[in-house]
């Protein structure tokens, strides 16, 4: 029999848990309630397939932002995935356990640096560098991609190391005992055995890149125009909301919420994919 005290504790914990979930649910409902009417009003096609964004004239096409997000996220992955995976392989397969045990938490700490700091470093160091080297404003897709590529490194490295370290030692021994080199062992056995965890790390990193706002506002230039080179400025879905929410009213405000709906759906899909990848590991 549970005593009364236990019952009270249990019930109140339940209440707290449920209210937290309920709040998240309310936020989701709120975003959809505010955003979806506009999508219905102007039509989904006009909303996401038109690049005309001029709120004052009642034109709300977010294609430029979708493409901006795509470019910058893809760029972040091009930079972050090889670097992150390389780092994870080095840490898990080559360095002594003791060093890895120290370096891994250190890298995870990098995830805690506020994004405005990353953005600031980008503005001070990276943007002038790109401007001087490659011309253009410097504020660009490239700058956004590099900063985001660095920002997603801790996610990719940390989860990939976990995945690699979860690969049984006996697989590696089996491979080495057949006369495989360490590289062959890593590429033909270890990476294959860890692939779903690694995939999950990439998807989670991608989610972070899609959702990041502050650092991107600071370095990507924010022009509402489909970028046609990596040296062009671009605006992403998140930065669109952040930049205009201060003065948006009426349909304009609804259009920003609708942008939020699109983001919400993208992040949901990424999370489902990541969960699926994680689930397959068993």
């Amino acid at each position: 029999m549970k005593n009364a005290k236990e019952v009270v504790v249990e019930k109140s914990l339940m209440l707290i848990a449920f209210s937290a979930i309920f709040m998240l649910f309310l936020i989701a409902v709120f975003i959809f309630k505010e955003g979806s009417p506009l999508i219905f009003k102007i039509g989904l096609k006009n909303f996401i397939l038109s690049a005309k964004w001029s709120p004052l004239e009642g034109q709300f096409g977010i294609l430029a932002m979708i493409i901006g997000s795509l470019w910058i996220t893809a760029g972040a992955l091009v930079i972050g995935v090889p670097l992150g995976l390389g780092c994870a392989i080095l840490l898990s397969e080559f360095l002594p356990r003791g060093i890895t045990a120290f370096l891994k938490p250190t890298i995870e700490l990098l995830a805690g640096i506020p994004s405005v700091v990353y953005g600031f470093i980008g503005v001070v160091v990276l943007v002038p560098f790109i401007r001087e080297r490659f011309g253009g404003p410097g504020l660009s897709v490239l700058a956004g991609s590099i900063i985001l590529g660095i920002m997603i490194l801790p996610t990719i490295i940390s989860i990939s190391i976990d995945a690699l370290q979860a690969v049984p030692r006996s697989y590696r021994e089996g491979s080495l005992a057949l006369g495989a080199t360490q590289w062959q062992t890593i590429s033909m056995v270890t990476l294959k055995a860890a692939r779903s965890g690694i995939l999950a790390s990439i998807i989670l990193g991608m989610g972070r890149a899609v959702g990041e706002t502050m650092a991107v506002i600071m370095v990507a230039g924010n022009a509402v125009k489909i970028p046609n080179s990596i040296f062009n400025p671009a605006r992403t879905l998140t930065t669109n909301i952040a930049l205009e929410m201060g003065f948006a009213t009426g349909d304009h405000r609804a259009a920003l919420f609708a942008t939020g709906v699109v983001l919400f759906v993208i992040i949901m899909i990424l999370n489902i994919l990541a969960n699926y990848a994680f689930g397959k590991r068993k």
């Binding site: 080495l176 005992a177 057949l178 006369g179 033909m188």
Partner: protein, 250 residues
């Protein structure tokens, strides 16, 4: 003929000495069993023969292990090449999480570029040699880690003989298997002996008596006695061997 000759081999894990001045010779195309109580250093000795102990941090090894008259602990030894010739079967079956085919083809792919047809032929021949072909010929693309345990262990032997090593080291290969599967593996070992030199670590005294030609009895890092298996099991020289064989300790 000696396949492997061990001279004055000592091994330390950190400050703990696990092998003490071991001297032994493993005859070509014979089965040699290493027996002894738990923790006496059987696996450690076995893993010295293909330098698997190199993978453990803090291991110090002194002495000589000659494989085909060359000391494998001499500086500059190609460990990868060594392991290609001195393969190992582990206690827990450890097929790769790849298909049956890819498991058997693994060693071949690692060692040379091979045409697909050639590869298939060798995979088939190897599976036939271990008696797995009939059971698995329709399951070549299934994931090996989902096979029954005894098939997994046979597959591990198969992927080894696919690259035709000279020596096969087996560390308690049957300890995870039931008696029927154990009998199958023992039968296979007697068959493989025609082509390969086999060193097997076993806890199972009957197994050592059944399959091996020579036996070595180890105790606390020392090789106490080494002789023809018949002799070890009927009339050992050392009292400690006698005690172990008759089950008085261990």
């Amino acid at each position: 003929m000696n396949a492997i000759e061990v001279k004055n081999l000592s091994l330390h894990y950190g400050s703990f000495q696990a092998l003490k001045n071991v001297n032994v010779q493993f005859q070509e195309k014979m089965i040699t069993a290493l027996i002894g109580p738990s923790g006496c250093g059987k696996s450690t000795l076995l893993r010295c023969l293909n330098r698997m102990n190199d993978l453990i941090e803090g291991v110090k090894i002194t002495g000589v292990v000659n494989f085909r008259d060359i000391n494998i602990y001499a500086p500059g030894t190609d460990v990868v090449e060594l392991r290609r010739h001195v393969g190992m079967v582990f206690q827990r079956p450890n097929p790769f999480p790849l298909s049956v085919f890819d498991n058997v083809a693994y060693g071949l792919r690692v060692h040379q570029e091979m045409k697909k047809i050639q590869l298939s032929a060798i995979v088939e021949r190897s599976l036939q040699a271990t008696g797995l072909w009939d059971d698995l010929k329709d399951k070549l693309s299934e994931t090996a880690t989902e096979l029954p345990l005894y098939q997994q262990q046979l597959l591990c032997i198969t992927r080894l003989i696919a690259i035709e090593p000279k020596v096969i080291l087996m560390d308690e290969p049957c300890s995870a298997l039931d008696p029927i599967a154990t009998a199958k593996i023992e039968e296979l070992m007697l068959e493989l002996k025609k082509k390969y030199t086999i060193v097997i670590v076993t806890h199972n005294m009957q197994q050592a008596a059944r399959v091996s030609d020579y036996s070595g009895f180890m105790l606390m890092g020392e090789l106490i006695e080494f002789n023809k298996t018949g002799r070890i099991f009927t009339n050992p020289d050392d009292k400690r061997t006698q005690d172990y064989i008759t089950g008085r300790f261990g």
